[in-house]
Symmetry: D2
Subunit: 358 residues, 4 copies
Amino acid sequence: MNFASDNIVGGSAPVLQAILDANAGTMTAYGNDEISKRVRARFDEIFEREVSVFFVATGTAANALALSAAVPPYGLCVCHREAHIIDDECGAPEFFMHGAKLAGLPGIGAKLKPEDIDAYLRSLPKAVKQMPPKALSISQVSECGMVYGLDEIESFGQVCREHGMAFHMDGARFVNALVSLGCSPAEMTWKRGVDILSFGATKNGGLMAEAIVVFRPDLAESLGYRSKRAGQIISKGRLIAAQFEGYFGNDHWLDNARHANRMAQTLSEGLVRLPGVRLAWPREANEVFPIIPKTLDGALKAAGIHYNPWTELSLPETERVADHEILIRLVTSWATREDDVQRLLQAASSGASREAAE
Amino acid sequence: MNFASDNIVGGSAPVLQAILDANAGTMTAYGNDEISKRVRARFDEIFEREVSVFFVATGTAANALALSAAVPPYGLCVCHREAHIIDDECGAPEFFMHGAKLAGLPGIGAKLKPEDIDAYLRSLPKAVKQMPPKALSISQVSECGMVYGLDEIESFGQVCREHGMAFHMDGARFVNALVSLGCSPAEMTWKRGVDILSFGATKNGGLMAEAIVVFRPDLAESLGYRSKRAGQIISKGRLIAAQFEGYFGNDHWLDNARHANRMAQTLSEGLVRLPGVRLAWPREANEVFPIIPKTLDGALKAAGIHYNPWTELSLPETERVADHEILIRLVTSWATREDDVQRLLQAASSGASREAAE
Amino acid sequence: MNFASDNIVGGSAPVLQAILDANAGTMTAYGNDEISKRVRARFDEIFEREVSVFFVATGTAANALALSAAVPPYGLCVCHREAHIIDDECGAPEFFMHGAKLAGLPGIGAKLKPEDIDAYLRSLPKAVKQMPPKALSISQVSECGMVYGLDEIESFGQVCREHGMAFHMDGARFVNALVSLGCSPAEMTWKRGVDILSFGATKNGGLMAEAIVVFRPDLAESLGYRSKRAGQIISKGRLIAAQFEGYFGNDHWLDNARHANRMAQTLSEGLVRLPGVRLAWPREANEVFPIIPKTLDGALKAAGIHYNPWTELSLPETERVADHEILIRLVTSWATREDDVQRLLQAASSGASREAAE
Amino acid sequence: MNFASDNIVGGSAPVLQAILDANAGTMTAYGNDEISKRVRARFDEIFEREVSVFFVATGTAANALALSAAVPPYGLCVCHREAHIIDDECGAPEFFMHGAKLAGLPGIGAKLKPEDIDAYLRSLPKAVKQMPPKALSISQVSECGMVYGLDEIESFGQVCREHGMAFHMDGARFVNALVSLGCSPAEMTWKRGVDILSFGATKNGGLMAEAIVVFRPDLAESLGYRSKRAGQIISKGRLIAAQFEGYFGNDHWLDNARHANRMAQTLSEGLVRLPGVRLAWPREANEVFPIIPKTLDGALKAAGIHYNPWTELSLPETERVADHEILIRLVTSWATREDDVQRLLQAASSGASREAAE
């Protein structure tokens, strides 16, 4: 059983079927095919307005390209200090932004606070030696599995407008947040001030399906060129477009995310009942971050369950991981079976009992 | 009927089947899966030595990343002035090489001559104002459908060694050249001095399958990092690896290329029999570049045949396209049917007869 | 005697004196001192309007920074194929523009023609694979010593406006052109459509005095940051500002240029009287490009006169350099003495006579 | 009186005289003149071995260019989180390194500890998502005026060798540290493992005199090209070279630094005698960082004394600045007069007495 991430499985059945269906016949290359056009129109519907959509191969490219449209080479992009764009992309944002800098701020649960950003921005010297702030990037879901509320997003939007910054959302787990909040895509994005979005589908049923969705037309102007020069406009564009068609059909994307979140909820509820187990941060989407006894960690691994330890960098001030404990991350997905979750909980339960007996 | 390019069709049946077969089960992400490992070993076999392989999403990325490993930001990369890397990638090489420059030299049939390169290199001033030459990039097949012979490749290798340059081959149509020469992949590359290769499969049966193959270990050192920061390491790496597995199985890749070349040969032979039609350059792989009367061009278009005009930049000195003529490019692929070719030739023949009758 | 370039001498007396005068006392660093402010106001007067001025250490930096403000990393900058920015700066423009490309067009005397630029721009494919043209850069004086007329500059301005491009002028020898045309700085620049100017003083009396002068306010916005991050804002800004103060005082800059041009004129007129000597291009500023017999070349060198050979790339179509001839460049400056010119002419005359005698 | 920085005065008399002396006559441009050659040889003597020297216009350029020779675009450079290269150069290092990242570590007095660096490096994940560490940069003198001892430097050298990193020293105040330690330039650099040095002279008597000194020959290979493309090779190279000639003559550079340090010592000793005044960090070179009552701050300003507040980021853990206090920086230089120091101390003393009286 593997709870290491939500990208360790293949594509869902409807996504695969869509690839097969799209394969026949000749189509214009480089994303000018009919399916790509249909899917772009579908994005307009989903976001209840005209948007610009750019298909890319990876979430890394989606984030880095999106930021490059908003931040000039001498600019600053504010984000959480544990953000994926800072820690996990080998400097992709700096590459695509041509040397612009990421300023990482602290925050519990890998969540930023609008007032912290505002204070930080006001503290910057007004001088040419200081790279001027040009964008804010938040991760929805956060790196610690937390979901920003609509009010929070709106406050970020206000901070961005006040300081003349673009507002980017890294939506690698966009839908997991969406169904968690129970709102519409429009409400979670442009209606609250988001200017540009990395819209991930790969973790939620896609095989390789990522898109940049742009709400501020001026940010879209350069992205065709930037995508091309980044080698991100794939030759047979139907491959990505078809996946999105399968993804959006019959609410498949929403169903997948609801399932993943529900599996995480079951997991979370089961774990906290065990002695010595507590959550580092509340479970809000499809990730659970329990602090568990190291003995339990050993028992789970012995049971063949895969997952990763996590950093304590964004723990609440009142929380700490003791020497005999470990903080781990468990990720569920559209492909996680109820059965897997129960087996994990049983293994955990046995481990906990055994420990108590000793 | 569409002879516009070899990227207008989907993937071949074995390639699609391989994607389906690879979809089940959990696998490590980011190209560390079992299939990727198997395929890397397969590349070693195919090239009769240990090679480093990096899977990427596009030929643009393959070329630009490969060059970035060989050329420092202040360096020069010599290529043909009509090369794909100069004309068709929105500056991707310059982006990945961080501002290094492409020096485009002339040459008939979009082929470079070793002696021209040598003369050019010797003419460069020895001064810091002159960006130092660090790589040569040739396209095998060339932009005008021509294939470099093994002796020519060997001469390029010598020029590169003498001038301390890396030798890159853009192999978007690698296999078409390979079966045209009837040699082994090793003979066409590292045994003749090639250091790094863009190995394309998308045009020859893949859906999205490109790789960088590195023969000089020092050039491979940075490519993992460079790929990651370029957003080219896809999350579910099995997608590309599986395609290569299907591609290489049962000589599928060779069969596909042989078919494409044969279709081009039939097309070529049929066309030159028509009055007023001649080839701008000999047909050597899966592309035909006839100079045809504009009347015939009209007839072909009226018959619903798609193709593109081509530039006269690399015509032989003794050749020119008259005012009543046009130079076009016809591309065949693994998916081109004999029937399509015959229908094109019939349409052309009727067009030619009709013209003669008027 | 040295006619190799106009940067082989030190600074003129008024420029040196200004450096000495500015040395005493404490001043705010990084260009925020009083002298810098005064000189900026002086630039406003000289150009008869408000301009933004950025002091830099080299002409290379002036050109590259100016272009970086106008051309995004995916853009194209059109210039002459023999332009200094293409040939002589080790890729500085590509570095500062983050990989944007220079498109070099041909033209006699290293001068571009507006209609050629327009035709080139119209020939570019409208597709994301094509880097979009964002700037035109001309050299006034051109690389072959020629001066663009006001009408020509105005035509370039129109082409730029039509195609949405910024218009840059490389004015390394700005004043030499200015006094040659006998017009005002405003007339030669923004009144004819120039948006941004590299204003060189180093070749005409400065020791190290270069500036970017910006006429389109939006192009100035980023230049403070760009200069700083390029290490071009010197700590003790008074050094450059003071030189400009000395330079502009008492028409010193205009006098210097007039002298240099006059020396070139004398040289030119003397040379063409010699048998076998003709000019490759008309002498219009402070450079002379004669085609001379190789025997004469030998005689001049034997007489200890330093100069450089020049490229034949931009010769008129009807002109060619025979095997027994050589094309050379002779540069005069504010420091060239009448006496030096006469000695060169005498040496040439003797050389020519001797040859005739043999 | 101005204690704001050591770059608010002009050049020293010997430096100015050297500029004047070098002005006459023709010399080869771009740093190939005789003075530049002599000064390069002088650097060899000073460092007791062959070194490569590159003259640049600013300390920003020296740092950024030096790092660009050591760190590839995908690499990491470790430094103090308060380092000048992180905070004060508008992203110059990121620009010159093409997006490579600066990792800022904490440390009291803006000094790094070798063991902290080692621990940080060992904590980095071994994966392509992690930019690999390629250089360490320390500031000698540190941003808080502290001087690394020879043992500390040696330890850094060991850490660098173990982790395959280049070792850069930002020597904006190199000589102030040198005379503080009383050792030779060789001992403070390459004999302790330093690979590349930013050698600043502007703050210590130069008008604009900065150099990169390279001890590891492979790091020097690209720097000529990199300097040229950065617009850092000034046309009349004698300007910088001459300043160094004046600077090194008659131990002028050492005398200047000794004077500046002595002035700081006097200042420091005088200040700590005042009630309510203490040093945030020990005075070790030419900067004093006292924590003073805000009333005293007001008195000093009223007396017309200029200086800047400083950040508390690198205070010792046991130290804090109370609400009624302020942390300030006072900088002395070669041009600071004993008289100025006494007047500052008198003003401070009066301010302190007046406060006590109230």
